[in-house]
Symmetry: C2
């Protein structure tokens, strides 16, 4: 049975609690994150994400009701805005439980993308979206990568965040151990003396590729743990690609190789 | 000989003129656009873009002086902020002439990317950056695509805007005529009954691929003028890729095919 309550004051405890989810620390503490707009909320529910509450304007009450959240809070537009990261909110915002990401062992025949210190949330969201499209077994997250449950990541992942498998690692060393245990090769996207073209590496099953920070690339620590490095061949004048573009081309090549092996 | 002037009032005519360049109409009228920060300004000068003036804070006067602009205006930080799209300006902003894009005929052996109504300036900038990296002969721009000289495109293109060849077309029909004249095949990134995988189309020299709006894809008008349609094979749950990612994978495949023919 759903409970519908009206909130009219910015001092309401449930509203204040939800506003805290804008900050990473607030999300960590509560184990919850915000999802904006009916389209994304619907995707979340369809994908099995547990909604704990929905805040909505009066006009969106019917839509909110269909999402199956235990609590619905009807709020005026000015209060809903407090929960929104976008300038034009779409009538409802949900509070969802951050899913447990689990620690299942990696698969020997899997394809993995490693993110190390990717800073821009738009890049992280776009990478998750591409990862799902190209059937990446899991995205492995290291270091100071943008919080996956921040509003801009949630938005730019376009629902893939709710479905793409993700695992977090405390250190490059622990990541390396998990990969080695499953017999997975690790390539770093970086230029060294022995760097090979992405088309010559054999990015089929049993491969992980790490992409690093937009400005500074992979850390020396992670590079030292790689079995090899790879590059995307490009014209001389260009220094680099956008991080999400580079990661996407790597994942595309992985899926290309995987399909080739299946034929 | 460079002239250095100090501006202290927001009512200064040159400053007000420059502020107008934030808007597309202002850029059209003046034939000028803004470039933020020393790194991008340096790239622009190196790439042959004509700087008409630089506005800078006192602390950045030396850097500004080395850019070779005929006029330098020293302004307080609060006035420089008026010229900035970013929240943390980097001490100087330049006014540059929008380069003539020319109307040279297309090359029979060229590789072209067509943008139709791409809305997000970040996507457009990222696409220009990738186009340069993968040696696309020219980016052909149609319809209501985001203005290439808007601040977010300038920023996300990371300097490629200053070097990548670009041509604008008034209509899909005129684009089709220019392509046909050079004997170039046109593919549309869209799903139809006859859509083939991007890996089966032969995207080598003499090919153009059109990508459409983030939400609605290519227009029926342009689709009717395509020789065929192509798709990037992906997992079932995913509706689509980010537009810049899709365009980047298409350009990567073009460069892959081109290099194969060169071998």
């Amino acid at each position: 049975m759903q409970g519908v309550q009206h909130i009219t004051s910015a001092d309401n405890a449930r509203l204040k609690q939800a506003v805290k989810l804008h900050r990473r620390s607030g999300r960590r503490e509560a184990g919850e994150f915000l999802i904006e707009g009916p389209k994304l909320l619907h995707e979340a529910v369809k994908s099995g994400v547990a909604l704990r509450a929905v805040f909505c304007e009066e006009r969106s009450l019917e839509i909110a009701g269909r999402l199956g959240a235990p609590d619905i809070f009807v709020v005026p537009a000015r209060l809903l805005q407090k929960l929104c990261d976008t300038e034009s909110p779409q009538g409802c915002v949900g509070v969802a439980a951050i899913p447990a990401c689990g620690a299942a062992p990696l698969e020997t025949q899997g394809c993995y993308l490693v993110l190390e210190n990717i800073q821009d949330p738009g890049n992280v969201g776009t990478i998750l979206r591409t990862a799902e499209a190209f059937c990446v077994s899991a995205v492995l997250v290291l270091g100071a990568t943008a919080d996956l449950y921040g509003p801009k990541v949630v938005r730019s992942a376009m629902g893939s965040l709710f479905r793409q498998r993700v695992r977090f690692f405390e250190s490059a060393q622990l990541l390396r151990e998990a990969l080695s245990e499953a017999g997975i090769r690790l390539y770093g996207a970086a230029l060294r003396g022995d760097t090979r073209s992405i088309t010559a590496c054999g990015l089929g099953p049993g491969t992980a590729v790490a992409v690093g920070n937009e400005g500074s690339g992979l850390t020396q620590e992670l590079l030292a743990l790689c079995d090899g490095t790879l590059k995307i061949p490009m014209g001389a004048a260009t220094e680099s690609l956008n991080a999400a573009v580079a990661a996407s081309i790597i994942m595309w090549e992985m899926s290309r190789e995987t399909r080739r092996e299946e034929v």
